[in-house]
Amino acid sequence: MREAIRRWLATLGGSPALPLTLDRRRIFVLPTGPGLAFGCALLAMLLTAINYTLSLGFALVFMLAGLGQVALLHAFRNLYALKLRETVPEPVFAGQHAGFPLWLDNDASRPRPALQLSMPGADRVTIDLAPKQSRVVLLNVPTTRRGWLSPARVTLDTRYPLGLIRAWSYAKPAQRCLVLPKPESGRPPLPATAAGEAGVRPSGDGSEEFASLRDHRAADSPRHVAWKTSARTPDAPLLTKQFEGSDGGDLWLDLAQLPATLSLEQQLSRLTGWVIDADAAGLHYGLALPGTRIAPASGPAHRARALRALALHGLPT
């Protein structure tokens, strides 16, 4: 029951998608704890003024009441017409913090001080925007498991200027963060290639034997594109030459080769570590997962593709 109420409360105010300009229907205002205390103090002061017939006491109390009203509008104004947008978060390894980047664009020629952003699970961030300033805030959420991590609803609030009134608004970022498997620590060294020690850079002098052609992928080295074949058929997609290395330079990271005593997550964790190692060593490596094969290649794009395959292996979508 309580959980149901909490869930219902969490949906109040909606989850407006980004990018977003905060208009008056999206900004909510309520007094804070100190604001309520201020109200009680005003009541006590009003009673005192009535009791002692203090005309200037009335004036003081009414001035403070007016100040409360003005504080409300100033808090509202601090958020009003602020623009929010998001960019794609960088993939992180499980156990690290996923940083959801949220951009705040202040088009107004006034500063917007003391803006606070929070997301369930993330640390609260306070920033001040100068006039006409755009800043990006990373909402850091701890991660535990590989796969896609969807951001929760972001609350943007401010108590500026008097701290008596809180104005807030919600936004729901859509960009998910890819959480990669955690690289195994103390993992064994890279497995040996088919014909030689790991870590030995393939000679790459073209002595490998041509084996077959397949569709071109963005990560393929330009050296391996079948330019002649493609030139003959300009309308066909580019083809890539596949080689079977008699030089043994290609490293295959194959899930099936790992000891069966390890759980799937441990296996993925080890492979992730190996992908990092292989990439660091500048090796030409391929990845074989049940249902997925990534042909040997190297470079950051290849590394990202391999890690992504590892992160999403066996997960829906």
């Binding site: 008056r24 100190p34 205390a37 201020f38 103090a41 006590a44 002061m45 009673l47 005192t48 003024a49 009535i50 009791n51 002692y52 017939t53 203090l54 005309s55 200037l56 006491g57 009335f58 004036a59 003081l60 109390v61 009414f62 001035m63 403070l64 009441a65 007016g66 100040l67 009203q69 003005v70 509008l73 100033h74 509202f76 104004r77 009003y80 017409a81 107004a108 020629s109 006034r110 001080p113 003391a114 606070q116 993330a122 640390d123 961030v125 306070t126 920033i127 100068a130 300033q133 755009s134 800043r135 990006v136 805030v137 990373l138 850091n140 108590r159 500026y160 200027p161 008097l162 701290g163």
Partner: protein, 662 residues
């Protein structure tokens, strides 16, 4: 635009930094200084000590007060307050304890929450300062204090900023709050206080006439220039010599002191009998004097609803006058009350102590004449004939004071003359009594109020004559007619004349009149703004039958109006930014039918360059439009002005694009 990337800092329960602590100390200083004039000395010393200690801790890094020290201070100060005031509750002890709380809280500043407590205490201390003084100067001073406290509140919430910027921000917010304050002040239904019983000390320190008269009691008052009340006449003010403002009537004499008698105890709701004659209407604004006496001209003919009158024609309110009060009376000048006086009162008005003052009694027998009226005339003649001196510093009189005054010293003040005269009349067998009150008053040309001061306090006599009633006899007028004509300013040389009564400083007097008129306006319209004044003002503004419901509706509507205006102000900036975007779209719309629309990827300057190459005839206008937009959007140019010029450009382009390229 600046582009900066930031990572999330950890935000825990924020401890207060040095700058914020400084602001809170400023709050305490602003809130406590106005109380310096009335707090007991030892408490001021303790507060100053604790404050200085905190300042040293802030500035020089001294160690803070430990919990034990604070506890000891609290216990000792509570004991001190209870010893000084006799209790821990009520106005004075309450203010003393608030002071203590505020300074001690400065030694307990751990979080923003503590800061908020200090700020709220500060606001409350400002309110209590008004218990002691509500002058315009005090109001201005507390307005400044309020700005400082509000700036501290901003400092607690916002990022670090220069003190000057925070003060300016606070002042700006207060300026915006001002309309709300004015509306609430005028329209908030005023409830007459007090809501609950007030401690006895609530109204200490007010001065005025007393309910008894011993030699010296009025002459003491006469040196005070304090204002007793102000009157405004409907029509021309009568001359000062006719203005006898009736106060307590003293008909019991014990040989030394005159006190109120039985006729003062009998209080009715209406006048004892109607007073015929041409009535003069006027309004009296009475300063608080903590008694329920009201002052009206002799002889009052019409009473306001909540004013009662005693058998000796003294006007009484329901409660002591603790705040300025305003009443409208009508009087018939020169009318004599009590033609058919109750014999009990007349008997009481003939009572004298069994013995004492034998020489005066003897003298009274020689005054007896054929008719009572002649006896009165003989008594007055006596004062005129003999060498009596009117002085504010009469010699002290011992036993048989009236004898000593009449035969030995012959120097006295109005109370001596009135007392002696009544004694003589009683000894001669006529019913007589002493009336105290105020005589005269000074007209202020600036606002036409007649100002009556404590120095106008006076005592005169009343003698009851068959078929005539109580006749006013002022023996002082017989000694020194100018006292009645022109007030105390004409005292014989060498007398200590009250400073405010001096006539020789003409320019000073006119300056004083200006100042007092301003003060009176402040009193009438700010400090005494009550239910009655509220009604008066609202009906003057055209609100017929202003009741609380109508007032609440007006109040809510006006507040809503101000809130709306403020909201529009809050949303104004972005509206002008949108106007810029709209104008920029208008430029695009003007050229798109000609196939010259802006591509999504094109910046304004690139767009101007491209179209300029295609259509040189449009180039100057478009270049100007694009420059305007770029400056307003990315530069410092004001968007509102740019939007207007941009719209003009769009119109020009729409004309120029013909013939369109098909």
């Amino acid at each position: 635009m600046k582009w900066r990337r930031m990572t999330a800092p950890k935000v825990a329960a924020e401890p207060l930094d040095q700058a914020r602590i400084a602001w809170l100390m400023a709050v305490a200083a602003c809130a406590l200084v106005p109380h310096g004039s009335h707090l007991p000395g030892w408490l001021i010393a303790v507060a100053a000590l604790l404050f200085t200690w905190r300042l040293a801790q802030w500035k020089l890094g001294w160690p803070g007060a430990s919990g034990l020290v604070k506890l000891l201070v609290v216990v000792a100060c509570c004991a001190g307050v209870s010893l000084t005031f006799g209790r821990l509750f009520g106005r004075e002890p309450g203010v003393a304890l608030l002071t203590l709380m505020l300074v001690l809280k400065l030694h307990e500043l751990r979080s923003t929450r503590d800061g908020h407590t200090v700020v709220l205490l500060g606001y409350f201390m400002l309110l209590t300062a008004f218990l002691y003084s509500q002058t315009p100067a005090m109001a201005a001073a507390l307005g400044v204090s309020m700005t400082v406290i509000t700036a501290a509140l901003i400092a607690l919430t916002g990022p670090p900023a220069a003190p000057r910027a925070l003060l300016r921000h606070a002042a700006w917010m207060m300026a915006q709050a001002l309309p709300f304050m004015l509306v609430l002040f005028v329209l908030f239904p005023r409830v007459p206080g007090p809501l609950w019983g007030l401690p006895l000390d609530a109204w200490s320190g007010t001065s005025g006439l007393s309910d008894s008269m011993a030699p010296g009691s009025i002459s003491q008052l006469s040196l005070s220039g304090a204002i007793a009340f102000r009157a405004r006449f409907e029509g021309d003010a009568p001359p000062a010599r006719d203005l006898y403002w009736r106060g307590p009537v003293l008909s019991a004499f014990d040989g030394r002191t005159w006190r109120q008698g039985s006729s003062a105890q009998r209080i009715g709701d209406g006048l004892p009998h109607p007073v015929p004659g041409r009535a003069l209407g006027y309004e009296v604004t009475l300063e608080p004097h903590n008694r329920n006496w009201l002052f009206a001209l002799e002889t009052v003919a019409t009473l306001p609803a909540d004013v009662r009158v005693s058998d000796d024609w003294q006007l009484l309110g329901r409660d002591g006058v603790r705040t300025r009060r305003r009443d409208r009376f009508e009087s018939v000048l020169g009318a004599r009350p009590g033609i058919e006086e109750w014999s009990g009162h007349l008997d009481a008005a003939r009572q004298l102590p069994r013995d004492g003052n034998p020489r005066a009694r003897q003298l009274a027998q020689t005054l007896r004449a054929a008719s009572p009226a002649d006896t009165v005339a003989a008594g007055l003649r006596l004062f005129r004939r003999e060498a009596f001196v009117y002085t504010l510093t009469p010699p002290l009189l011992g036993e048989d004071g009236i004898d000593a005054f009449l035969f030995d010293t012959r120097r006295g003040f109005c109370e001596h003359y009135a007392g002696a005269f009544v004694f003589l009349m009683r000894a001669a067998g006529l019913p007589a009594r002493v009336v105290t009150g105020y005589q005269g008053g000074e007209r202020n040309e600036v606002d036409d109020y007649v100002v009556v001061r404590q120095s106008d306090a006076h005592a005169w006599a009343e003698v009851w004559l068959e078929g005539e009633g109580w006749r006013r006899v002022d023996p002082t007028a017989a000694i020194l007619p100018s006292r009645i004509e022109r007030g105390l300013a004409d005292l014989p040389a060498g007398e200590p004349v009250p400073f405010v009564a001096r006539v020789d400083l003409g320019w000073l007097r006119s300056l004083r009149h200006q100042w007092e008129a301003a003060n009176n306006a402040w009193n009438q319209w700010v400090l005494s703004y009550d239910q009655q004044k509220q009604r008066e003002l609202l009906s003057r503004l055209g609100m017929t039958q202003p009741d609380w419901r109508l007032m609440t509706i007006w109040l809510a509507s006006l507040c809503a109006l101000f809130a709306l205006a403020l909201t529009m102000w809050a949303m104004r900036r972005s509206v002008s930014a949108d106007a810029l975007a709209r104008a920029w779209t208008a430029v695009d719309r003007a050229l798109r039918p000609a196939g010259l629309g802006r591509e999504a990827w094109e910046g304004p300057l690139d767009y101007a360059a491209r179209v300029g190459r295609l259509r040189p005839d449009l180039a100057p206008t478009l270049a100007q439009a694009c420059r305007l937009y770029a400056d307003a959007r990315y530069g410092a140019a004001p968007p509102a002005a740019a939007a207007r010029e941009l719209k003009a450009c769009a119109r020009a382009l729409r004309r120029q694009r013909i013939p369109p390229r098909r």
